[in-house]
Amino acid sequence: MSLAIEFRDVVKAFGPVQVLHGVSFALQPGRVTGLLGENGAGKSTLMKILSGYEQATAGQVLVNGRAARFKGSREAEGEGIVLIHQEFNLAEDLTIAQNIFLGHEKKRGWLLDDAAMNREAADVLEQVGLRVRPETPVRQLIVAEKQLVEIAKALARKARLLIMDEPTATLTPGETERLFALIAQLKAAGVTLLYISHKLDEVERITDEVVVMRDGRYVTRSETREVTRHQMANLMVGRETSDLYPPKAPVPSSVAPRLRVQGLTVPGWAEGVSFEVRPGEILGFAGLVGAGRTELFEGLLGLRPRTVERLELDGRAMRWRNPRDAAHAGLTYLSEDRKGKGLHVHFGLRENLTLMALSRYATPWLKPEAERQALEEAVKRFGIRTGTLDNPASALSGGNQQKLALAKVLHPDPKVVVLDEPTRGVDVGAKRDIYFLIEALAREGRAVIVISSELMELIGLCHRVAVMRGGRLQATLEADQLTEGELIAHATGTH
């Protein structure tokens, strides 16, 4: 039933850039192995090779002792190897069930058996805890739901080796719990699991052993129970890591709010939400999937139909109707959907970085030199790892794309910035950098709003946290009230 996998001297190069430098290690069948490494360490690339989406430049992958060289994912799936991609691979126009069975359709004679596929899809959706009809087009799903569909798709493949690349980056604790239960079930059924995550607490909880990669090389392996989270982090970055969160600078309570939102309603998503955030303050937004946080802020920007009773920036009434007006007023927004809303994946890094602040470079002619200089600075400041500066954004690893997206929305130098899942898929080292950066932004007098599904992140970072449930603001907790239990209680309505 289980598969034994061994990598032997696997090398991979993209053009002139070599990203895997001879990786060798073995996976034991029937266990859950965590694969750790910084952003750009080569984890996703190695997994794509294992599951047939990429071919190694040199070296071998052994499956149950036999050398396998998959020409495509179908061959790997034939061996029972299935990958859940870090980036979504869903056809937006097709329904959930159609995506789940794409390339593996069930038929009755010549015709598709949609009834059977919808039924089975409903089953796997149930398993992952997604209560949406399988006939729903994927276009209508939010990011977390798409992630669940990706997981459901892999489940429907009946894998013997299941690779999960950052499956929980966009999930809230509820779905994450359900996923863990599922992993336990699969393991019990003898499936070998490979789990990639930057959430070390998860790795600690569910893996049997961890393998660490750094800079495209295998570093070490260890039984999970023999290492602490702190040690894991040190192994990943290759040096001693220090405190994850910066100390919270006090916000003078006397200052007037920078942003005041009163009675914001996004029909169908959020109802009469009011809040304010002061300069220098970091305001968190917590909630479960479906709480409507993302839509609330998309509405605030004018990306969705909405009504608002009053909108004030620095005491002046505002009436922006689209992101452009908002950006002019000094508010920018980082979307949780990196690929669909955050970055132009076919554009260069430079063009992505400067897009929201082009007027700075157009006087009236754009100055590519100045843009390039800005990119160099951003690469340094945000720790973006890239082979060359001329890469398109699609050539960056997931975590590095996230850093670029963050750099992009901060580039216009906003007075208020809304960050929706700012550390999605980012490694611990970089996460710390981002936290310190956010703190610095606040200290400079900006107002920062952080939407996050990682409660620890909100607790560690925010001055106050607003909790939403079912489209309504449930409570706003002050720093001294911030505990996981308190947040969950408000988010689930069990307070």
């Binding site: 989406y53 994912s73 937006e92 390339g103 598709l112 998503w269 489209g471």
Partner: protein
């Protein structure tokens, strides 16, 4: 779990409106038509309109697949003309040789469909294996097909021999159960098209490729093969349309099929399929094709405006119908 929130419901309504947009447009036009001329609703006129929609409609069904795939085919008009010409040449040769017009016609029909499939195969290979933009490939063959027809016809027209023409004409002019043959064929093609698009793996792959080619590739869909098959399917539709066209006008000339590509594409798009591909419906396409014929039928039935402005009226109506089913920004 809380009940399904509103947005999805409103999305449903929208989707419904979107798919009924063209139907609504069609109904509205029919009301106008009847108001302007009471004969508009007469059975004869309705059959006339449906019959003449058949050519473009059948081609549009194939075009619908190509557009959903994310492709385009500009050559269909020229292809139809060349197939018509070649078919006439073949039948004129076979007629005397076989001595039986009926078998010459049967062979000619088979030839037309096979030729269409082969042209589609050529397109598919150049696009899928050659890696050339469909726009360019079919712009090129648009010229090539028409040039070869002109060449075969020596600049004039190729005309079907009159005995063959008489034997062949029921294919266009006869009725079965009161409904003209081309309408039956159109119906059959549309039904099969709808079935293939929605109920076969092939149809599913066409949609998947149009929606996101990379995803389809990752799902181990044989993208190249599906593309080739899709262009072949369109070629076959063009062949079938030609089989109905030849008995009607009995000849092919360098002006045959001019601008049909635009009409076929317009039928698909007016029918609610997006030009960028990924999704669309055969029903919408059929409605779109009928809608376009109805517009010109109404213009023929009335003379309220200057003949010079016919095209303008058509333009306004097309834009208005599209406006009724516009997508949200």
């Amino acid at each position: 779990m809380r009940p399904e929130p509103h947005p999805r419901a409103s999305l449903r309504v929208r989707a419904l409106l979107q798919s009924f947009g063209p139907v609504l447009g069609l109904i509205l036009l029919c009301i106008i038509g009847t108001a302007l001329n009471s004969d508009f609703a007469a059975v004869d006129n309705v059959m006339n309109v449906l019959t003449r929609t058949a050519f473009i409609g059948i081609i549009a069904v194939g075009m619908c697949f190509v557009i959903i795939l994310g492709g385009i085919d500009l050559s269909v008009g020229s292809m139809a003309a060349l197939i018509a010409g070649a078919m006439i040449l073949v039948m004129n040769k076979l007629g005397p040789a076989l001595g039986s017009p009926v078998s010459a016609i049967a062979l000619g029909i088979g030839f037309a469909v096979v030729l269409g499939a082969l042209f589609g195969l050529g397109h598919g290979l150049l696009i899928a294996k050659g890696g050339i933009e469909p726009f360019i490939v079919t712009l090129g063959t648009l010229g090539i097909f028409r040039a070869y027809l002109t060449y075969f016809a020596d600049g004039g027209a190729l005309t079907l021999d009159s005995d063959l023409s008489d034997a062949y004409s029921p294919v266009y002019y006869a009725s079965i159960l009161g409904i003209p043959v081309p309408v039956w064929v159109f119906l059959a093609v549309a039904l099969v098209g709808g079935l293939v698009l929605n109920r076969t793996a092939f149809g599913r792959y066409v949609q998947a490729i149009g929606s996101n080619e990379q995803v389809a590739r990752y799902a181990a869909v044989d993208v190249g093969r599906i593309k080739v098959l899709t262009y072949m399917l369109l070629g076959i539709c063009v062949g079938i349309a030609t089989v109905l066209y030849v008995p009607r006008l009995g000849s092919a000339s360098p002006t045959t099929g001019l601008l049909w590509e635009l009409e076929a594409i317009a039928a698909v798009i007016v029918g609610g399929t997006a030009l960028k591909g990924g999704s669309g419906t055969v029903t919408g396409t059929v409605v779109g094709a009928v809608l376009l014929s109805v517009i010109s039928n109404i213009l023929n039935l009335t003379s309220i405006i200057s003949v010079y402005l016919n095209a303008a009226v058509q333009g306004f109506v097309i834009i208005a119908v599209a406006f009724m089913q516009r997508r949200r920004k």
